[in-house]
């Protein structure tokens, strides 16, 4: 279990530019959950994931991952990343190696994977994101946007963290790139692995998460199931977010058809409308 207790983060505390990014925030995330963290720009999402992953020490409060207090105790980085790690926004800007193999192997070497096992773990990570052996000797800088993003994700999952956080995993990608990342995320979900992702794309939050945490001005304003959040259109709009496609359609059609179901696919909508037409 990932536990955040009374976390507060204040930037530039003794200046007139003092900014309280997180205010007394507490939450628990359990293993195997699919959690979406949403909120508008500047709401504190990025600060929250930095604190969660032990990259930023909170001003007050503590982070406990599987009974390991990473705020109070000085836990080595290579131990923390085995529990929790992050794929940051635009992760391809962190590339430095000549080949995809070296880029992905960096994380494995950092946590002390033995030399003869490195190639196996690198290949496993690449396979998980839908890339094969032919990519090993390619330059990561010469890949397409979607491929770069997948290599970046592979370079983190090679560590095999129990809790994986993805910050805007599909931002700045074209349709093909987005689809490949979504299919990786769906694959991870199907394996029952924990997934925490931060997104501005409400359709992704709606389709991929079962629990949704909405952050506004450094505090949690909603923390429950995703479906119920999008049923509360007033709250969604109040915190500056928009309804995803399917809840929006539902909201419109409910005016004419009060028994319109919770659809997550086009087939569901078409089936319902066909049934109505026939009857």
């Amino acid at each position: 279990m990932l536990e955040l207790n009374n976390i507060s983060v204040t930037y530039d505390p003794h200046t007139k530019f003092k900014k309280e990014a997180l205010k007394d925030l507490s939450l628990k995330i359990y293993e195997g959950e699919r959690v979406a963290i949403v909120g508008r720009i500047g709401s504190g999402k990025s600060t929250l994931i930095e604190v969660m992953s032990g990259l930023l020490k909170p001003t007050s409060g503590e982070v406990i991952i599987d009974s390991l207090n990473i705020t109070k105790n000085k836990v080595p980085r290579k131990e923390i990343v085995k529990h929790i790690s992050v794929v940051f926004q635009h992760p391809e800007t962190q590339f430095f190696a000549e080949t995809v193999f070296d880029e992905v192997a960096y994380g494995a070497k950092n946590i002390g994977v033995e030399g003869n096992k490195i190639k196996d773990v690198v290949l496993n990570a690449l396979t998980e994101v839908g890339l094969d052996e032919s990519y090993l000797d390619k330059s990561p800088f010469e890949l397409s946007g979607g491929e770069k993003r997948r290599v970046a994700i592979a370079s983190v999952i090679v560590i095999n963290p129990k809790y994986l956080i993805l910050d805007e995993p599909t931002s700045n990608l074209d349709f093909g790139g987005k689809s490949s990342i979504i299919s990786y995320l769906e694959n991870r979900i199907s394996k029952g692995r924990t997934l925490i992702f931060v997104t501005h794309n409400m359709d992704e939050a709606f389709l991929l998460s079962e629990r949704l945490i909405a952050i506004n001005e450094g505090t949690v304003v909603y923390d429950s199931d995703t479906l119920s959040f999008f049923e509360n259109a007033e709250l969604v709009e109040k915190i500056g977010l928009e309804l995803p496609f399917f809840p929006k359609i539902k909201k419109l059609l409910k005016k004419c058809y009060p028994d319109f179901p919770d659809c997550k696919t086009f087939d569901c909508i078409v089936d319902y409308l066909t049934r109505i037409r026939k009857s």
Binding site: V81, S85, V86, F88, T93, F96, Y106
Partner: protein
């Protein structure tokens, strides 16, 4: 965000923030030169007190002033060690292999105070002047060189852009460091060589991203009509008022005071 880097501009309101940047650069440069002419400990101490007073009056964060000394500690200790033990003169302490001389002690004290004052003066200039003002001030200082066909405008633009890139590069470095730490990178343990090597995955993407950014900036400037070597007008106008006169008078009086101290105490 909470960390200050050396000389970062600080948004406080003080006499120094309002001072004409051109005059500020000239006065600071003058004070630095003046410092190298001093020969008595009395003058050095008065100069140190004067500089501390200036820093206090500038209302910058004390924490940032103290942290500005971090980069020079090694240089300071290195210089002090050599001056203290290898300056010939009257031996005060004899440690067989190493000898401390009276002259060595004196020079060490002078150098320490000089380095501290130099750091504080540089800090004072950059922490109370925005990068745009700094570039404009520098442009005005080197403006007379235009007579010799020196590319003043281009050089000041280059300096202005470079200075504005500094905070961006720091933020970028922080972002890349965090991304590499998320992949298990450890920048704090190991010996000096190991630690230096561990920064390679930060430096390479940082340089690469900086080049990309510079390329984008060049294209953005050209698309907005920038042509190299064209005569340009300036939106900002340097003002010269009461504050500037006060600053000049104050520095002049300080020079006279130092002159008297030098005459009085120089053996």
């Amino acid at each position: 965000m909470a960390k200050f880097y050396f000389g970062q501009f600080q948004y406080t309101q003080s006499f120094f923030h309002k001072l004409n940047p051109t005059l500020k650069i000239i006065l600071i440069f003058y004070l630095v030169i003046l410092l190298f002419f001093l020969k008595t400990i009395q003058s050095y101490l008065i100069f140190l007190i004067f500089t501390v007073l200036l820093v206090v009056l500038s209302k910058v964060s004390i924490q940032s002033v103290l942290s500005s000394f971090k980069p020079i500690i090694f240089l300071l200790l290195f210089t002090l060690f050599f001056q203290l033990f290898f300056t010939p003169g009257k031996v005060v302490v004899n440690l067989k292999v190493l000898k401390i001389t009276q002259e060595g002690i004196n020079i060490s004290i002078y150098i320490a105070i000089r380095l501290i004052i130099l750091t504080m003066l540089t800090f004072l200039l950059t922490s109370t002047t925005t990068t745009t003002d700094l570039a404009m001030g520098f442009r005005n200082v080197i403006l007379p060189l235009r007579v010799f066909r020196f590319p003043v405008e281009e050089l000041s633009l280059m300096i202005s852009i470079s200075l504005q890139f500094v905070p961006i590069l720091f933020e970028e470095a922080d972002r890349i460091m965090k991304a590499q730490m998320a992949r298990g990178a450890d920048f704090e343990s190991g010996n000096l060589f190991v630690r230096a090597k561990s920064f390679l995955p930060v430096i390479l993407p940082l340089i690469l991203n900086a080049f990309n950014r510079a390329d984008q900036l060049a294209m953005a400037m050209e698309s907005r009509g920038f042509i190299l070597g064209m005569k340009r007008t300036s939106y900002r106008v340097s003002k010269f008022g009461k504050n500037e006169v006060i600053a000049i008078v104050f520095v002049a009086l300080f020079t006279i005071l130092l002159f008297f101290l030098e005459v009085r105490f120089h053996a």
